[in-house]
């Protein structure tokens, strides 16, 4: 039996939000819940929201990491013209569920307010498509985007990568891979409560067992789906689990935010700290009382609004004309 480990409290508004969130996103996700999560975490119809925000959507396909066709959508505000900055987005969903529109609300502000062109990717999901499919699909999306800057009317010098949770891990891995492979240059990386470390050994992971959103077991389920028996071994690539990267030099400026009341707290803090130690540029926000992805689930709360506002301010600094 697990002993109760003290953990930082949830913010009161967010704790109330969990009363609803828990109904569709259980704290503990085991392999037998993957199918349920694929239904419960599927994005709702977005057409009305796109219309309301005056966003035009183009469905595209591009060759994924192995050449097979992968879907993505290119979103653009009808109120901006000319070459625009671009955002390449990796959605959340524990590497096993979610789709290119999951949790997208938060990123749409960058399209409507900054005129960014958003490329959101339906990278293939584990366990059916284990490592390296998800990360190589994202890398192929970056190369496709860089090769189509003219058709897409985006600025080659202003491509930002962003991702939330598992997508945050993919975004961090993409920045590492682009650096190492001499790929397209990125102007920034937004890592929202990123899933960085397959070893699952931190104190914050021990603190959140069976509570909140995305607990210790869920994390093990996600990493195992991606890496199988290699999880936790030295065979794991730093592009899959960026916490394993030895060298964090020469990366694009990073924005990292994470909740104090979630399992990813320690690995996110450590990643930011190691970027600083390597002489890099990172901005780290640790939100008191925040559970994992609370800005997606409870954007109306004081903490959720602060997270969104703070992130948008950073992105504006990097992307705006």
């Amino acid at each position: 039996m697990a002993r109760a480990v003290p953990h930082p409290p949830f913010d009161a508004e967010l704790k109330a939000g969990l009363a609803v969130v828990g109904g569709m996103f259980p704290p503990t996700i085991t392999a037998d819940l993957i199918e349920f999560m694929r239904t419960s975490y599927a994005s709702p119809p977005m057409d009305e929201e796109f219309d309301r925000r005056r966003i035009a959507v183009n469905d595209v396909t591009f060759p994924g990491g192995d050449g097979a066709a992968v879907n993505a959508a290119v979103l653009r505000s009808r109120d901006f013209s000319g070459p625009r900055p671009a955002v390449l987005y990796a959605h959340s969903g524990g590497l096993m569920f979610g789709d290119m529109f999951s949790g997208l609300d938060l990123v749409l502000d960058w399209v409507t307010e900054l005129g960014a062109v958003l490329v959101t990717v339906d990278y293939r999901l584990a366990p059916e498509y284990p490592d390296p499919y998800p990360r190589e699909d994202m890398y192929a999306a970056l190369e496709w985007l860089a090769a189509h800057v003219t058709d897409l009317d985006v600025r080659a010098d202003r491509i930002l990568v962003a991702g939330a949770s598992s997508g945050g891990g993919l975004a961090a891995g993409l920045a590492l891979a682009a650096r190492d492979r001499g790929g397209p240059r990125l102007c920034g990386q937004v890592l929202d409560y990123p899933m960085l470390d397959d070893r699952c050994m931190t104190a914050s992971i021990e603190q959140f067992d069976g509570i909140g959103v995305w607990d210790r077991i869920s994390n093990e389920t996600g990493w195992t789906a991606l890496l199988g028996e290699q999880r936790g071994t030295d065979l794991v690539s730093p592009y899959a689990a960026p916490a394993r990267a030895q060298n964090l030099r020469g990366l694009p400026p990073a924005f990292i935010d994470v909740g104090a009341a979630e399992i990813f707290r320690d690995e996110a803090i450590d990643y930011a700290n190691r970027i600083w130690q390597a002489g890099g540029d990172a901005e780290l926000h640790v939100w008191s009382g925040a559970f994992h992805a609370c800005d997606i689930f409870a954007p109306h709360t004081s903490v959720g609004r602060s997270m969104i506002r703070t992130r948008n301010t950073w992105v504006e600094k990097i992307l705006a004309d």
């Binding site: 039996m1 697990a2 002993r3 109760a4 949830f10 913010d11 009161a12 508004e13 704790k15 109330a16 939000g17 969990l18 009363a19 609803v20 969130v21 828990g22 109904g23 569709m24 259980p26 704290p27 503990t28 085991t30 392999a31 037998d32 819940l33 199918e35 349920f36 239904t39 419960s40 709702p44 067992d209 069976g210 509570i211 909140g212 077991i217 093990e220 389920t221 195992t224 999880r231 936790g232 689930f297 409870a298 954007p299 109306h300 709360t301 004081s302 959720g304 609004r305």
Partner: protein, 362 residues
């Protein structure tokens, strides 16, 4: 949040969204959040702007589903306002068209929470619901009988309380009067069922002892102990009857009072093998049987038992040893229970998720 409620309803048409709305506001009241936060949650749950106005001192506040405060007076078309009004405070939802399915409940809970936050005599205005009286230790047997009859229970019948966290995973729900009840461990979902009830599946879930209606407070207390003894997935449901008088003792015990045996069990729990070994020792008749339960060699077990005996200061296989260890083991589990830390997961009944197996990885 409105969208999430819609998802929950689609995933499980039998899910009670009302209970979630109530639980949500219970947490907001307990957390003592401000008026804006209360309006933001109401707006987010309803999917439309929520408003508040008090006459003295004059103050108006309107908040959108995204938590943004909006300026100006509410729309003038009264057909778009769904108002709950009491004691100089109005709250409303600015909904275009017909009321949503949860509007009335959201407004009722919002009105209550806003009144408490704005200092209108916190307690007495919360009309205690019948189930609260039925299960409350401080109510008299007569009050419980009155509440029981209001709930349609027979004065001569025998009933039990079933309790679960608000986010328990239900495979199917037993029928009976139900409500959300605040406890020191957090709000629980409580249902009154007959002594002999049709089987149902819920994880985690505690089922109390059977009592007449005027003693259902006792059934509730034993159900709470049973719930907090749950160990999902291996033991998702605990029936108080399995522990009989022991659970009744625990129900009335001060868990945090010093208890030398339980303190020593805590020391043993620090060993990786500690709790599972005590579990087997308490359940087994002999060292050999306990070793079989644990699937280890009996000499391995014997060395663990030597450690346990040395730590406890008594041999669990002698005299009152096993009783002492059993009681201390249960008390320790209650002290360290995380079952109600936060409502556990609710996945819909149409997915077989009761007691999901943990992945076979370390």
């Amino acid at each position: 949040m409105q969208e999430l409620l819609g998802r929950i309803a689609r995933l499980d048409p039998s899910a009670s969204l009302g209970l979630r709305v109530i639980a949500c506001f219970d947490e907001l009241i307990v957390g003592n959040v401000n008026t804006r936060a209360l309006l933001a949650t109401a707006a987010a749950l309803a999917g439309c702007t929520a408003g508040f106005r008090q006459s003295v001192p004059p103050r108006t506040l309107r908040v959108t589903p995204k938590g943004e405060a909006v300026q100006g007076e509410s729309p003038t078309d009264p057909s778009n306002l769904h108002v709950a009004s009491e004691d100089g405070i109005d709250v409303w939802l600015e909904r275009d068209g017909a009321a949503g399915p949860n509007d009335a409940l959201i407004l009722e809970r919002l009105a209550l929470a806003v009144r408490i936050r704005n200092g209108r005599g916190a307690r007495e205005i919360d009309n205690r619901r019948h189930l609260g009286i039925l299960t409350g230790r401080e109510s008299t047997p007569d009050e419980r009988l009155t509440a029981a009859s209001a709930l349609g229970l027979s004065a001569t019948g025998m009933y039990r309380l079933v309790v679960a966290p608000l986010f328990a995973v239900w495979r199917n729900h037993p029928a009976g009067p139900e409500d959300v009840i605040a406890t020191p461990f957090g709000p629980v979902h409580a249902i009154v069922v007959p002594e002999r009830y049709p089987p149902f599946g819920a994880s985690p879930c505690g089922i109390g002892t059977a009592t007449p209606p005027d003693s259902l407070d006792r059934s509730f207390r034993t159900a709470m102990v049973a719930l907090r003894l749950c160990r999902a997935p291996k033991e998702p449901q605990v029936v108080a009857d399995s522990y009989g008088g022991l659970i009744e003792l625990l129900a009335d015990a001060d868990e945090h009072a010093p208890h030398s045996d339980a303190d020593r069990v805590e020391a043993i729990a620090h060993y990786a093998w500690g709790m599972e070994t005590i579990d087997a020792v308490v359940a087994a008749q002999s060292v050999r049987e306990a070793a079989r339960l644990l699937n280890i060699h009996h000499s391995t077990l014997q060395s663990r038992i030597d450690t346990i005996t040395a730590t406890l200061g008594f041999n669990p296989f002698e005299g009152f040893g096993r009783s002492r260890l059993g009681a201390a083991f249960l008390l320790h589990r209650l002290r360290t229970s995380t079952v109600l830390d936060l409502p556990a997961a609710a996945a819909p009944g149409n997915v077989a998720v009761l007691g999901p197996a943990r992945p076979a990885t370390v």
